[in-house]
Amino acid sequence: MANTDPDAGAARAGRKSYLSQSQAAFLLLLPFLAVYALFLVYPFFRGFWISLHDWNLLAVAFNPDAKEFVGLRNYERVMWGRNIEWAAFASPLLQGVGLLGMVAAAVLRYRGRISRATAVALATGSALLFLLPGFHPGEDGRWYDRRFWPTVGNTVLFVGLTVPGVTLTALILAAAMNRETRAMSVLRTLFFLSQVLSVTVVTLIWQIMFSPRQGLIANITEAFGGTPINWLTDEQFAMTAIVIATIWWSLGIAMILFLAGLQDISKDLYEAAALDNATGARAFWHITLPNLKRTITLVVILQIILHFQVFGQSHLMTQGGPNDTTQVLVRYIYQTGFRDSELGRASAMAVFLFVIMGGFSVLQFLVGREKE
């Protein structure tokens, strides 16, 4: 095919092409590579670098030499403690779930019910859930940072409530609205609308929705003769409140991804099932769910990544309170760095966040690449 080589053709045409293909490519790549190197790759490594230092924001701002290299001390100060021990039943509930998850992954994979990537994901997640909560301070021991692990726990709880909430609601709605009619398209628009709002508008709306004095929810409660709940300042309800606001906000993407997945399921399958009298809920259970397994896995992973980075809802609605019950990881990083000026420790936590997010990104990539 040498005679169709475009460069040779250009040369034959007798006109001068100013740039060779490689030169043109590098010229076109240069702007992106420059900003990428400067504002993503470099900061990424600099984050590691900062995490290895005792680095006070204000002190270093005045005197660049005011930082001190401390190796992995920041990681120790954040994640470890004195006399830390591990036991299989330090936190029976979480570890039990982890153990069950590992067994479930093995059994489901053995029976061929789930793909390899899903099995690995489930097993890894469950193993971590079994391992991590097992660590606890022994006698006379304590965590160096008393707030870090509870904060991680709150973040996991937030994810653990939000993701199933969004996934189930979105799945049911998507299955019900999977028709190309005018009415369905209007309904989809209504459900999607809140997704385009900014986090500060969402928190503004829900802060007042939940307000015990002025809130719509309190108004409704009172109309039925009940006593309004202090949603955002009651330890029992604060997390639920920000989860509700988040589900309301982020239902749209999950719904749209499910609708896209549903489009790929052949209509013939439903027609064949209808002949066997499987319609409605039965068709959903026997046809929709099995064919949507990969989409569901992807949507779940994607939401875990998204919601693990929750910040605004906690920062604006509850300020992490009451009593730290809604303190989440990104807000703790922000506070440690910018209120307490401890950039070294904050960076160590940011690296921790990156490692977790990176793990899920790899998983997302593997599942995404898998064949149906």
Partner: protein
């Protein structure tokens, strides 16, 4: 359409209405007088209908307060970021998808690995860098970090890969240079993808909270999203509930309009954005 279908639509209308209620409520409160709201928010139909009605909350936004200025900042930052992202993403995406050059696979991999790095994991080092440069409290500080996120490159690369080879080869045989092919042949073809990317970036820029919170400390450089956060903590006392809600409505207007007009692109953009970072 059978009876079951109409029942389904009816049954779905109820949750759809409930889903819409918080938004309706914000709009309704923004049209009620502050002194009434200070007493009760449920004057008519639990407050969902703005009676007594007033538009003075919107007038007040423009006569004093910084909302118009923040709005303008958001427009400048969002448009600047959109143009910047489009420029670097279309060029790099085209090179990676259509041109041959040394170390191509390596460069492509390095670029796409960046999709794994969340903003929250780099905002501290970015803060110290921009502080060293003395760049905080400026428009470019708000714009530049997002230009480094490879999601746009990924999107454009996918699109350019799908264009048939012969279009470009015909031009090459006529002796047209690569840059001209990119500008005159490829970019016009890429309009739908560019539209999706532009909307994705604009929405991100308009709604971003964490980086502006860290970078813009002077109120003159607040975006509307950040400004709204700064007035909502003590809304009831200082500003008046109605006026804060009016700020919320104004802050949402551009993205809601964008959504209603370009619904298909917005949904596509958020799907891509959601699924790839």
């Amino acid at each position: 359409m059978n009876r079951g279908y109409y029942w389904l639509v009816l049954a779905l209308s109820i949750p759809a209405f409930i889903w819409l209620v918080p938004t309706i409520w914000m709009v309704s409160l923004s049209f009620q007088p502050n002194d009434v709201l200070a007493r009760t928010t449920s004057t008519t139909a639990l407050g969902l209908i703005p009676i007594p009605f007033t538009a003075e909350n919107y007038g007040a936004l423009f006569s004093f307060g910084q909302t118009p200025w923040w709005f303008l900042n958001s427009v400048i930052v969002s448009l600047g970021m959109t143009l910047g992202v489009l420029a670097v993403s279309t060029t790099a995406g085209y090179a990676l998808a259509r041109l041959d050059f040394p170390f191509k696979a390596t460069i492509a991999t390095i670029c796409l690995i960046g999709l794994m790095v969340p903003e929250q994991a780099v905002f501290i080092p970015l803060y110290t860098m921009f502080a060293d440069f003395g760049w905080h409290n400026s428009y470019h500080a708000l714009i530049l970090p997002r230009m480094a996120v490879p999601i746009g490159v990924f999107l454009m690369m996918q699109f350019f890969k799908a264009i048939p080879k012969d279009i470009e080869e015909a031009a090459r045989l006529d002796g047209v240079g690569w840059l001209k092919i990119f500008w005159y042949v490829m970019l016009p073809l890429a309009r739908p993808a560019m539209m999706t990317l532009a909307i994705l970036t604009f929405l991100y820029a308009w709604n971003d909270y964490l980086w502006p919170l860290v970078s813009a400390q002077q109120r003159e450089y607040f975006t509307i999203t950040l400004g709204l956060a700064s007035i909502q903590s003590n809304f009831a006392q200082s500003e008046g509930l109605g006026r804060v809600m009016a700020s919320g409505v104004i802050a949402s207007l551009p993205v809601v309009l964008l959504f209603l007009i370009f619904q298909r692109y917005v949904v596509q953009a958020m799907t891509v954005g959601g699924s790839k970072g």
